[in-house]
Amino acid sequence: MTRWLPTALTAVFALWLAGSLVPRRDRDFALSELGRIPVVHNGRVQPFDSLARNSLTQIREKDKANLEPAKSWYEKPKILSATEWLLTTMTRPEVSDGFKVFRVDHPELKALLKLPEPDPAKGEDGKHYSWNQFGPEGLRLVEESARNIARTKKENTQRNAFDNAVVGLHESLVLYHRLKNTLMPEDTAGLVQEIEAYKASIPAGVAAFRSRMSGGPIDTNALTAMFGHSERYFDTVRQDTPLLVPPAEGGTSDAWMRMGDALLDAGVSAPLLRHLMKSGPQDELPPDRVAAEMRAAGTKTLHPSVTSWARIGDAFRAGKVEEFNATVKEHLAYVASLRMEKALTKTRAEQAFNAFAPFSKSAAIYIVAFLFGCGFWFDFAEWSRKSSLNLVRLAFVVHTVGLLFRMWLEGRPPVTNLYSSAIFIGWGSVGLGLLLEGFWKNAVGLAVATVIGFATQIIAHNLALSGDTMVMMRAVLDTNFWLATHVVIVTLGYASTFVAGFLAILYVVLGVATRVLTPDMGRSLSRMVYGIICFATLFSFVGTVLGGIWADQSWGRFWGWDPKENGALIIVLWNALILHARWGGLVKERGLMNLAIVGNVVTCWSWFGTNLLGIGLHSYGFMSGAFTALLIFIATQAALIAAGLLPQRMWRSFRAG
């Protein structure tokens, strides 16, 4: 039986993966088709599905909306897909205001907002609350406190956990409010009907507006009839809502518009309104542009996709399935007719990628593979190792596919931000682990691959909670050449230093706590660690210096002592120290292992710690939760080093008998 087990096990997991590739059929509303519609948010064209998932993840830390959070999974709570939640938010805000999707954990914040305690009978789980539960008073409190914090504690480092909870909740609430006003003003009675009324008011309204601007008589009724609408649309525009309306000229143009912008374009345009109401110098237009906007007022026809979005919204609201499905199709066909095939292919692919979730799937397989790998050391024999090896290979394929897919979607090298660095460090470590396993066949490489593979996916998952993981690159970072060289190589340096550190941990744990560490295995671990540190030195050195050269290319300073640069330099120095200590005979097998464990701390410092300082060019992601996590990690590494320093007679593996 054990002969077939490895293959059978892999086949089961492969089937599971294949199963999730089959697209789900919509039961009534064509929500998965809607999820494919391209929209623009964070400066990036993405499927509606991604906007929905990323927004919900930011608000709720999950990409599904559980409407009955107090129920356990076996009680079958009502769960909405992200797309359905977002569409409800956009079209029936009075309903979505009652959804318990806002995650609040901090006890003081809950007390401040008088949020109910957990009580399953009343449907309260003590973690998720609805917009309505905050109430006007709660919303005011959150906004006021968040503004206060932003004003008095500019530096992230000055903020405590409570401050971060307030700011985080405020951001979620602002995002939610934006989403409510993305498709239609939230107080509308029916968008299609409203647009008809607006269109009818334009000719007289614009005439009155022109007359007023040139000092002629004012037809107040005509003016209010039009501006009553304009004002509402202008309000939604000012909220920086996502952009739903594709550029009419199509192709690769990036002139996407908000619904409000497109509506105002048919009457008095948003830029002209901004100019007239100017809230700052950035709103001012040059005189020739003002004249052009004045001439254009009231002459443009309404963008066709405004009407189709309005019909989609109204149909969903009224529960008209057929009309909804037909309009979604129509809209997609319209977008396709704009020569935007590339955008459509990508949004379709991204939607499939979201559903497949390759990274969390590979993480799950890594866990199972880890258990089988450990089994090998406790004499489950070769079938256990083989099973583990096959599973790791399968997960590695999924991991790789996910990585390549992301690269294609973004048109970028693999590492563009902290999130993707976690994915890539995991990928590199798993690859290295498989190589080691190929040489030694003693499950050590598998342990490395599975543990680091899984841990980095967890880190990536937590980093993804702040929203979209594929944000656009600022001008200075917008260079595939340097991202592909400096960033990739430095990240490989991180990955290999972690692998060496993890091998060292394995040495200490297996040696102190079990009898698995034979002298043979000790020697092979020591050779692995040494060899990997050699290459970690190479990667981290070359990567760090390339970073310097990039800096020299972009602002003329090869070395600026930026915290992130310093962190990378410390990794290089630490690896060089280990190599010299070993060449000089200052450390032997165990000393090497202890130094390699310190390498984990050094690498973590460079990866996350330097971002926590909140200074410098690379401080792109501050996470307060990460600070605690980093301290805990350092404490565990210190404990392992202490264990590694125990006299040999206390190591189970070295005890005679």
Binding site: Q282, E284, P286, G616
Partner: protein
């Protein structure tokens, strides 16, 4: 030198200790940036021989440390002595030799950069020409008068380091002396408010200062903020005082009469003149749709160099600097408000003069190749000598 001392200087133990110290300096130097700011921390930890680290708000020297210069030069010494006394050439060590040579190049290159590199800023609006760049740190108190021709000025400039309270500034070309009454490293000058400042005298008796007050500010420590120095100077023709003037980096030139000529007084960033001129033709500032995330800053400039008979246009944008005449021009900042106003766009170029800019490029290649060769040799040996994997039970 005794054999023992040489042995010590070339030992791997010393290398390991120095590497550990280097790590400590870099680590505490990074922490120090949170309280001191990048520039001060750099001076304190990296461009020094000895230093110490103190936690935020404490003045007790908690962690004494060697400075960056000391660790760097000892590492260099250790490396060179080791190569002279201990290392013997062999092809199997060629990678180590290359690596070490590259590291020497990097360390020396960085030292040269440290000593010779100069940074300044050239900022202009569309249509403006500049044949000088301005220091972003240092100011000078400049006195200008017409030199007879209508384009050139005669200038006498005193560096800010001389502008200290009580100092007397004189120069053969000036028919007067300046006596510094007050001076601040960083201060704001503002119009004197009718009520708030009613019991406060104006900053000076003449010029803008007669209607203004000066508010001292704490000196800035980060790279992004800059100090705007200010001073109050008295102008003396012999024993006769012409009155006092307020000078500040935030003010335009102020005119006064002396020796039958008009003079102008200006506290301005130190200028560095170039033998060529750049004209800003056009600025481009693009953002991603629906966001404020910058996608591209770009300046189109025209280079005019009468000596080299050169007159051409180039684009300078992020990651694409212009290297010209021993200087490198980088796209640095761009005024967005002005662009939106439809007025002329502004652009600031970072100007760097660094004769040793090539050293890190070469150093990186040499060290990278060296490590690759050396570890390739290790790997080759390992692969040929590796014992067969232990037989596995099926």
């Amino acid at each position: 030198m005794s054999k023992k001392a040489l042995q010590f200087l070339s030992s791997l133990k010393l290398t390991v200790v120095l590497l550990a110290l280097a790590i400590a300096v870099v680590f505490f130097g990074t922490l120090g940036q949170t309280s001191d700011g990048l520039y001060v921390a750099q001076e304190r930890y990296f461009r020094s021989w000895f230093t110490y680290w103190t936690p935020h708000g404490s003045s007790f020297p908690w962690v004494p440390l060697p400075g960056g210069y000391l660790v760097g030069s000892l590492l260099l010494l250790n490396l060179i002595v080791a190569h002279i006394t201990r290392f013997k050439w062999g092809w199997d060590k060629s990678g180590i030799f290359m690596t070490h040579a590259g590291i020497i190049l990097l360390l020396v290159g960085q030292l040269l950069t440290d000593m010779m590199a100069r940074e300044s800023v050239m900022s202009f609006r569309e249509g403006d020409s500049r044949n000088y760049s301005e220091s972003s740190m240092d100011f000078e108190l400049a006195l200008l008068t017409d030199a007879g021709s209508n384009t050139l000025d005669q200038v006498v400039a005193f560096p800010a380091s001389l502008v200290k309270p009580g100092a007397e500034l004189a120069h053969g070309l000036l028919p007067y002396r300046l006596r510094v009454r007050e001076a601040w490293e960083n201060a704001e000058i503002r119009a004197r408010a009718p009520m708030m400042d009613s019991n406060r005298p104006p900053a000076a008796t003449q010029g803008v200062g007669a209607r203004a007050v000066i508010e001292p500010r704490a000196a800035m420590r980060t790279m992004d903020d800059r100090n705007v120095p200010a001073a109050v100077v008295e102008i003396l023709e012999g024993a006769n005082s012409l009155g006092t003037w307020a000078a500040s980096g935030g003010l335009r030139p102020q005119a006064f009469q002396s020796g039958g000529r008009e003079w102008r007084l200006e506290y301005r960033p130190v200028r560095e003149y170039k033998p060529f001129a750049l004209t800003l033709l056009k600025t481009t500032h693009e953002v991603y749709p629906g966001t404020d995330i910058p996608r591209n800053f770009q300046s189109r400039v025209r280079i005019q160099n009468p000596d080299a008979r050169e007159d051409r246009e180039v684009d300078i944008y992020m990651n694409n600097p212009l290297r010209y005449g021993g200087y490198t021009f980088f796209q640095y900042q761009m005024g967005r408000e002005q662009l939106n106003q439809g007025g002329r766009g502004t652009s600031a170029l970072q100007v760097v003069q660094n004769p040793s800019w090539l050293a890190p490029y070469l150093g990186c290649v040499i060290v990278g190749l060296g490590l690759l060769v050396q570890f390739g040799i290790h790997l080759g040996k390992f692969l040929t000598r590796r014992p067969a994997p232990r037989p596995v039970a099926a």
